[in-house]
Amino acid sequence: MLDKLGKNITTALNKLKNATFVDKKLVKEVIKDIQKALIQADVNVKLVLKISKEIEKRAIYEDVPKGLSKKEHIIKIVYEELIKLLGEKEQKLELDPKKQTIILLVGIQGSGKTTSAAKLARYLQKKGLKPGLIAADVYRPAAYKQLKQLAEKIHVPLYGDESKTKTPVEIAKDGINHFKKMDVIIVDTAGRHKEEKGLMEEMKEMKEALKPDEIILVIDGTLGQQAKNQAKAFKEAVGDIGSILVTKLDGSAKGGGALSAVSEINAPIKFIGTGEDVDSLEPFDPKKFISRLLGMGDL
């Protein structure tokens, strides 16, 4: 994942490394290359312009700290600005061991909520917790059966309503009553997008009824420039989105759209999905991620 972006940015920075003399013109040229790399990775265009302006300003006017060459300083600036974008620290999913945690998964159609629900259950199970899954998508055909098959595979109990007589909110509420003894309850919901006002309203109701401890926005790694607006609509509907889970990063997607979402709704990426298998879920560490991206090893 993100290999190409990393390569493009590294090529741009190598221009600096190989130059005998760093002047304004070269800095501008390098920044232009970085801009191109970020836009090709689907980072929001306005965001790219903002970051690159900041990098340019700092590269030209900031004093070079002791012990660093001008070139090293610019590379450091690029690194710092990209880190700023992702949030400085690795943010883990914090669970209060003394009480039951309710997690609500939301996102656009086909972004990978159902599979991620099972992956998350598996992840928590491996940590020694007892998770329960709730299938609260009554719209998509066989949504219940999909989660059922996944739950059986990882031996996690599932609550749902195959007869389709209950509303999603009712299913979720009943499910929580049903899972009194579980440590963590993960609620899978139907896919929806910002133009579907009725569904956004339903999601809001769901949030008010369940009072989840953590709302996770599941984002498709291939998502382009619309990531910003879609993420904003989700945040407006449910208020606090605690974390972002980026899926399909095992493909050719560069995940830049997810970065835009992060900066729009101010929530950290806590997990990334790297395959269809229930074990393909990794906690996300921004520093490691960016240094790998820039080919500079762990700083």
């Binding site: 312009l49 086909g110 719209y139 066989a142 399909k248 095992d250 997607a253």
Partner: protein, 407 residues
């Protein structure tokens, strides 16, 4: 969709047209200055002659009375430039109130041609570039579009008879058509043709995970059934949890049959069985689902190659997500390299997608987009072709999609 792309394009058109007008205006101004200069020179000469005349008159008063003809001649000469001045003044007054119209009339009068230089439109094109990127047109496609626009506009002589708006719009249309240069394809014609030889048309759907293959199959089955064709579905996604059940439920809703095996069975075998079933029963169309797969996964790409090799479909349809950004191009290219795509269905267009992916995918693989998925109902599948898109982009019609849910 296309609403914002449309707005962006029309903004560019008016900006370039404005540039042409203001450039014509400027040329006209320099021309006007030249006339003023000539007038001033004329005045000076006249003044001189007047002075000479009065000197002559003073010294030769007698001759003056005799020679009235000369004075009359000079008076006439003085009158004519002042008339010219008046006219220019009048034009400038109109210009103040209706600069736009004046530029045009003067240009016609003076025949001032405008030739745009690269510098003239550099800023406008740079802005267009950013706006197209924001509309999810992939980077390479944006560069190509802007380049084509530049080639068409820079150095072209625009005469007073031309309409700058029209010239700009045509240049943009050409640039877009150039990108969407692939042939349109008529799926119904294909079905009719195969019907004659009593063979089913076999369509296999491919794409990465979650783009909407299964749902698109259900929509297309619904559409074909409404047109009077018989359809059978093949549950070729034997991998994903709930995939077979999902297709079965759709089939029940629409009223068509599904041919299925167990979960984990060979995908090619299922589709092969569905084709045999269709042949035996004289069914017109086989729509085959396959599992979502990342183009970077070599094993799964080998599997889809095998499916296509064994089942020999008439059409391989790539299902792409219109919300995807630059990756849309990678996906389409990788799948096209593996299994040779014949056409594309673009989904989730109702999610306020800007439509850039339509341009990007078509450009990347040079294959036609057949349908757009525009909602959650079975009817929400719209036919697509290049002219349709160009009309949508440059026409007056607004596009609005349903947000109702059916499944």
């Amino acid at each position: 969709m296309f609403g914002s792309l449309k707005k962006k394009l029309s903004k560019t058109v008016s900006k370039i047209a404005d540039k042409i007008y203001s450039k014509g205006n400027e040329e006209e101004k320099t021309e006007g200055n030249k006339i003023n200069k000539i007038n001033n020179e004329k005045k000076e000469i006249l003044n001189k002659k007047e002075n000479e005349l009065s000197e002559v008159a003073q010294s030769k008063t007698e001759a003056y009375t005799k020679d009235t003809g000369v004075v009359a001649k000079y008076n006439a000469q003085i009158e004519s430039p002042s008339k010219l001045e008046e006219e220019i003044e009048k034009k400038e007054k109109i210009g103040f109130f209706d600069k736009f119209k004046l530029t045009k009339t003067i240009k016609k009068v003076l025949g001032k041609d405008v030739i745009l230089t690269e510098d003239d439109i550099a800023d406008i094109l740079e802005e267009l570039e950013l706006e197209l990127l924001e509309a999810d047109v992939a980077y390479d496609v944006v560069e190509r579009l802007v380049e084509s626009l530049k080639n068409q506009l820079v150095g072209t002589k625009i005469t007073a008879k031309d309409n700058p708006e029209e010239i700009t719009i045509n240049a943009l249309k050409n640039a877009i058509k150039e990108i969407l240069s692939q042939k349109n394809m008529d799926i119904y014609e294909l079905i009719e043709e195969k019907k004659k030889s009593k063979e089913p048309v076999v369509i296999v759907f491919v794409g990465i995970n979650g783009t909407g293959k299964t749902t698109s199959i259900a929509k297309l089955a619904h559409k074909l059934k409404n047109k009077g064709y018989s359809v059978v579905l093949a549950a070729g996604d034997t991998f994903r949890a709930g995939a077979i059940e999902q297709l079965e439920e759709h089939a029940k809703n629409i009223g068509v049959r599904v041919i299925k095996h167990q979960k984990g069975a060979d995908s090619a075998a299922v589709i092969y069985d569905a084709i045999q079933h269709a042949k035996a029963r004289g069914i017109d169309v086989v729509l085959a689902d396959t599992a979502g797969r990342q183009a970077t996964n070599i094993n799964l790409m080998d599997e889809i190659k095998k499916v296509v090799r064994v089942t020999k479909p008439d059409l391989v349809v790539f299902v792409g997500d219109s919300l995807a950004g630059n990756d849309a191009i990678n996906q389409a290219e990788e799948f096209n390299n593996a299994v040779n795509i014949d056409g594309v269905i673009l989904t989730k267009v109702d999610a306020d997608a800007k439509g850039g992916a339509a341009l990007s995918i078509a450009y990347a693989i040079g294959k036609p987009i057949l349908f757009l998925g525009v909602g959650q109902r079975y009817e929400d599948l719209e036919e697509f072709n290049v002219d349709w898109m160009v009309n949508k982009l440059f026409g007056d019609e607004e596009v609005k999609y349903s947000t109702e849910r059916e499944f």
